[in-house]
């Protein structure tokens, strides 16, 4: 069999760029195509860049000629950034996915789909089991917009996979990522002078190191598994300890006032957190990673505490 032909959506994102770079260097990969309106974050040598938006129906014409056998869907917005409404986020996530699947219908070469989704689909709940397994996605109602988006995306891919039995579709559910060069809600939160926290709560946080996040994605490309797979570094860390390791101080705020304080902060132009993130700070979340290790065959190299420690060291060295 000739080498793999991979198409990456959202190649302008941090993880998307690194993935393209990683696959480029792999001799088993014949062709890499990247779809995005943004420029990649790193210099790419042989990736064919397709400048298009996943929301644009035009992609149904652009994707089939790539002859891709593998699609990595990375164009999922986790938090509406500055100048982006939550409706725009919903559009990118849901309409983008719909258009993409329409394009997939016209790409008969496709055999493997890997989606970098989010463990946010489980939510953050006080009464949750301490480790969510893949089949527990609907244990609790979907409470936030992002949660509903992810659930909807998973649904679309699920339906698609059922209709195309030749295509295997892996939904990776990522815990929040941390690591060098990465700017996510979590790293921004830990970079603030003080970190607002819920008074009297010390939730268990589970993260994924950027290296492990990338390698898990590569592993899923090579060893596709049908259905959902949790991706996280093993172990959890208490929020208080995580803030301490980052060399920061927690600012305890009583739960009923938390929303008021953070929305005042928002008006003053301080950094804000999404509803999902706020719930995470309140109740935390852990996932079971046995499926990643046993079926996808990838064992993360760091634990959650190690990921935080190494990030904190690098952040200190950079400052």
């Amino acid at each position: 069999m000739a080498g793999r032909r991979v198409l990456i959506t959202g190649v302008g994102s941090h993880v998307g760029s690194l993935l393209a770079q990683r696959l480029e260097r792999d001799p088993e990969v014949e062709h890499v195509a990247g779809l995005d309106t943004r420029r990649p974050k790193v210099a790419l040598e042989r990736t064919e860049l397709i400048e298009a938006d996943t929301r644009d129906p035009e992609i149904a014409r652009l994707i089939p000629p790539t002859g891709a056998d593998t699609l990595v869907h990375e164009q999922i917005v986790r938090q509406p950034g500055p100048g982006m409404s939550s409706r725009a986020m919903h559009d990118v996530n849901v309409i983008g996915t719909l258009q993409l699947l329409a394009a997939c219908e016209r790409t008969p070469t496709l055999r493997t789909i890997v989606v970098r989704g989010s463990a946010g689909v489980y939510g953050a709940e006080p009464h949750a089991p301490q480790f969510f397994k893949e089949e527990m996605a609907r244990l609790f109602p979907l409470r936030t917009r992002f949660q509903r988006d992810v659930a909807e995306i998973e649904n679309y891919f699920d339906t698609y996979a059922r209709r195309h039995s030749a295509v295997s579709c892996t939904m990776l559910r990522y815990q929040p990522a941390i690591g060098r060069g990465l700017r996510t809600q979590m790293t921004r939160y830990l970079s603030q002078p003080v970190c607002p926290a819920f008074m009297g709560f010390d939730p268990r946080i589970q993260l994924v190191d950027i290296d492990d996040a990338l390698e898990a994605l590569v592993a899923a490309v090579w060893n596709p598994v049908r259905g959902a797979v949790n991706v996280a570094c093993p172990g959890t860390i208490g929020l208080a300890r995580m803030i301490r390791l980052a060399g920061k101080r927690a600012l305890p705020i009583a739960a009923p006032l938390f929303g008021a304080v953070t929305s005042t902060g928002r008006r003053l132009g301080l950094d804000t957190q999404s509803d999902d993130f706020e719930r995470l700070l309140h109740y935390g979340r852990g996932v079971d990673t046995r499926r990643l290790t046993e079926e996808v065959g990838y064992t993360p190299r760091r634990t959650t505490s190690e990921a935080v420690e190494s990030w904190a060291e690098e952040a200190k060295a950079a400052a």
Binding site: A128, P129, Q130, F201, D202, R204, T236, I237, G238
Partner: protein, 309 residues
């Protein structure tokens, strides 16, 4: 510690803070004025402030559990004068499911079972226990529970803990047990739907029935105010002789005399994991465990004698 050392400590702490040291360093400097064991305790607290401690993936924090032990030791020895029978029957290593009667509104019985194993067992270890869900909505209580080994009462948690060869304590009566009126003390409620037996069968864990006598007198519940309970979202709002009459003081449990008996473990591994799908077997085992605990409760009530003397 006498007043002079305390003043000396405060003075050094002030001096440290004034000279621009961070709180942890200032505390360490101040600690030089203290006697040795106080210094060690303080150093541990300082380490915690710096984030230098560890929890396992469940949030259990052995250091924290040791730090709060003196408080529970006081309850165990002086307040409730706990007598323990049969601690050696609890498996010294590997998985095991401790199944106990439940009473007393707050999970004091779980903490006393832990203390009993730490004190009386030849190979002491911390059991993990499943805690009623609404405790995890509450500030401070939720994190303290987790740090001493409590987890949300979910069968998934129990399974995972047992697969990791922990000792897990469950209270199948659940909220029906903690919320029962004083007049029904030591009368076991229904054991749910036998979920704890399914978990034991699926993981091949021995079930150790535990009878706790004494816990059902610490908060004699005379009445329930369901309207208030609904308002604050708790499963019940108890009225005891001291609560809500004395306000927060009503949370102080009465000093009854306790007796904890660990019964002979019931082996489940021979049924195999398929046993968990056998309704009849599950219900039969559940009923057997309930029956044994009920018998042991009556026997231990007699052995203990009067409740408060």
């Amino acid at each position: 510690m006498n007043t002079a050392t305390a003043i000396d400590f405060m003075r050094r702490l002030r001096a440290g803070l004034d000279s621009g040291l961070e709180l942890p360093e200032a505390l360490t400097r101040g600690a030089t004025a203290l006697p040795r064991d106080a210094r060690e305790t303080l150093n541990r607290i300082v380490d915690r402030l710096e984030g230098d401690y560890s929890e396992d993936e469940w949030g259990f924090d052995e250091d924290f559990a040791e730090l709060v032990e003196p408080f529970f030791a006081f309850l165990y020895e002086s307040w409730w004068r706990v007598q323990v029978v049969g601690a050696e029957r609890v498996p010294g290593h590997g998985r095991g499911l401790l199944t106990s009667n439940h009473a007393g509104i707050l999970p004091w019985d779980a903490t006393m079972i832990s203390m009993a194993l730490l004190r009386e067992h030849p190979l002491p270890r911390y059991p993990r226990f499943l805690v009623l869900n609404w405790a995890f909505d509450l500030p401070w209580i939720s994190s303290a529970m987790r740090k001493v080994g409590g987890v949300v009462a979910s069968p998934f948690n129990a399974m995972r803990l047992l697969e990791q060869d922990h000792l897990v304590a469950v209270f199948p009566e659940g909220v029906k047990g903690t919320g029962k009126p004083y007049s029904e003390r030591y009368r076991l409620q229904r054991f749910g739907r036998g979920g704890f037996v399914e978990i034991a069968l699926r993981t091949g864990s021995p079930i150790v029935p535990v009878a706790v006598v004494g816990s059902e007198e610490i908060y004699p519940k005379l009445a329930d105010l369901p309207a208030v309970a609904r308002l604050i979202g708790s499963p019940y709002f108890p009225v005891t002789p001291t609560f809500p009459l004395l306000g927060p003081l009503g949370i102080v449990p009465l000093p009854s005399k306790w007796r904890i008996e660990f019964l002979e473990p019931i082996e489940t591994a021979s049924y195999g994991p398929e046993g968990a799908d056998d309704r009849a077997l599950v219900l039969e085992l559940s009923e057997r465990v309930r029956d044994q605990i009920q018998q042991a409760l009556y026997a231990n009530l007699v052995a203990r004698g009067p409740a408060f003397i």
